[in-house]
Symmetry: D2
Subunit: 168 residues, 4 copies
């Protein structure tokens, strides 16, 4: 296993691209629309999930909630994005609203805009995400520093976020 | 805590009532409709759940699947019943089908028939169930021996089922 | 996987041998010595462990404690037996006493008598146990019905015990 | 709950004291004695434990091992210290050696020097530790930045270590 920087699945340190803007049709748990542009200066933790994906329910969403609980909102913004790419009729915003309520999810969640020529939604395509759950980390300058498919260990994620927080 | 027979939440041993027949609008994971009458001679494990209930997803459904995996189909029939009493628009049969697929549930599941004057469906009402998950145990003679709200310990459930199996 | 009777690792149902008597040098958690002969009429759950065996600490001992908590002492007797077959100097009765205290083990535990020509102690040899944890189940008539190496699922163990309880 | 800096149990950021030197009678998993002085330039994660403390076995030691596995040895040094303050006869170095072997612990472990006038050993006293497990974090300059009793969440520990790594 490759070990770069501080861990096996390291942050991108040189020449990271700007993170694509979110393309969202509906927001939950927030009074108005969010944008990465508006969050510049904070570290953004983007958690892409589907409400009926077992790995998301069992590991990804609880981890995102733990991150939201631990770090100060002034420095870290956790955003869920509901990237439905299968079972579209089963995971509508109506179902998502019930899911959010039943699982006590408190961080903002946006519904990824449906794709125009295929099942994969727009933001998911823009980030090149290959499935769910996927964790994306964006630094204070809006650059995309990590896109990790599957559940990351808390130790790694905590270290990644703090590494980004320590950068100006 | 009361301790009767072999455990704190014991089977009903004297004068158990006949279990109400299932009232189901649609079946999954089985070629035709099931009825308790048709399963006479087997022990029936009835698992009432809602697909967006956290305790069901995390504990109840996995336990029902373990029971289905462990005991012989010739002796024990595990049946899920989707007793939606809240968030009805979020937990339709279309969403349930995706849930069953994604979580690899293999035992038969019936959709409880909607109530005529309230949110609680028919079978749930007939059994007097007060929430989800609820486990109901029915003996070889079709009598209702236990209705337990919340997740039971595996040790208790295994003992309960074997106790019923040992009865003629 | 073989599926006999009610599960993949079934009880021995025909011609089970008498369980060898316990050969113990010291008892904990009980006022006087125990013997299988003195427990005739009860189901005996024998849990063979070593205090520094990870599978014992993490799964076997907690399961034995759950069994002791669930079933009535009038019907089921849980007995731990400390079958040290390696690291003998590290797992003396003095260390075992601290272990029992720190992990809040409440069921009786006997120290298996050291072997005369090898590292394996006497009771462990008599039962043909091949490692730890091992669970042995003895019926009301003192017959050995199961010897299972490794942690059994609670569902299976609960069913096994109840099956034995239902036999006269 | 107090939330300072990035989490509820924050690192000490101003005027941290120099970490007391380790006082160890015997080392495991390392060819020669270690000292904080010799590790200057690295972040040191000091994990104080007792081998028969349930919280240590179940949470503390596995977490320390995960830290050792994740971070590069060039930057982070994980050191266990066996701070026996109770059941001294039960947790001798002989027993500790078997524990280390059975639980596959690979990071260096030192045996804390017994106290001269009481049950608490020397290093434990010097750090003001009040029990086990305790996690202490020491920065690249040898200053003590955190002493936390009980198991910390991985997310918090990962963030703490990375915060220290980012400091010169």
């Amino acid at each position: 296993m490759e070990r770069t920087e501080f861990g096996p699945r390291a942050l991108t340190m040189s020449d990271p691209p700007q993170a694509p803007e979110l393309d969202v049709t509906q927001w939950f748990n927030v009074s108005g629309p969010l944008s990465l542009a508006g969050l510049r200066g904070r570290v953004v933790v983007l958690h892409a999930f589907q409400m009926l994906c077992p790995g998301c329910i069992q590991r990804g969403v609880p981890q995102a909630q733990r991150i939201a609980n631990l770090f100060s909102l002034d420095h870290v913004s956790v955003i869920g994005i509901h990237t439905v790419f299968e079972h579209h009729a089963a995971m509508t915003p109506v179902s998502l609203a019930a899911f959010i309520h039943e699982f006590n999810v408190t961080f903002p969640i946006g519904v990824d805009r449906p794709g125009t020529d295929g099942p994969v939604p727009q933001t998911m395509t823009a980030y090149g995400m290959r499935g769910t759950p996927t964790l994306a980390l964006i630094d204070r300058n809006g650059r995309l520093r990590k896109v990790a498919l599957g559940a990351e260990d808390d130790l790694q994620v905590g270290a990644d976020i703090a590494t980004l927080l320590a950068q100006p």
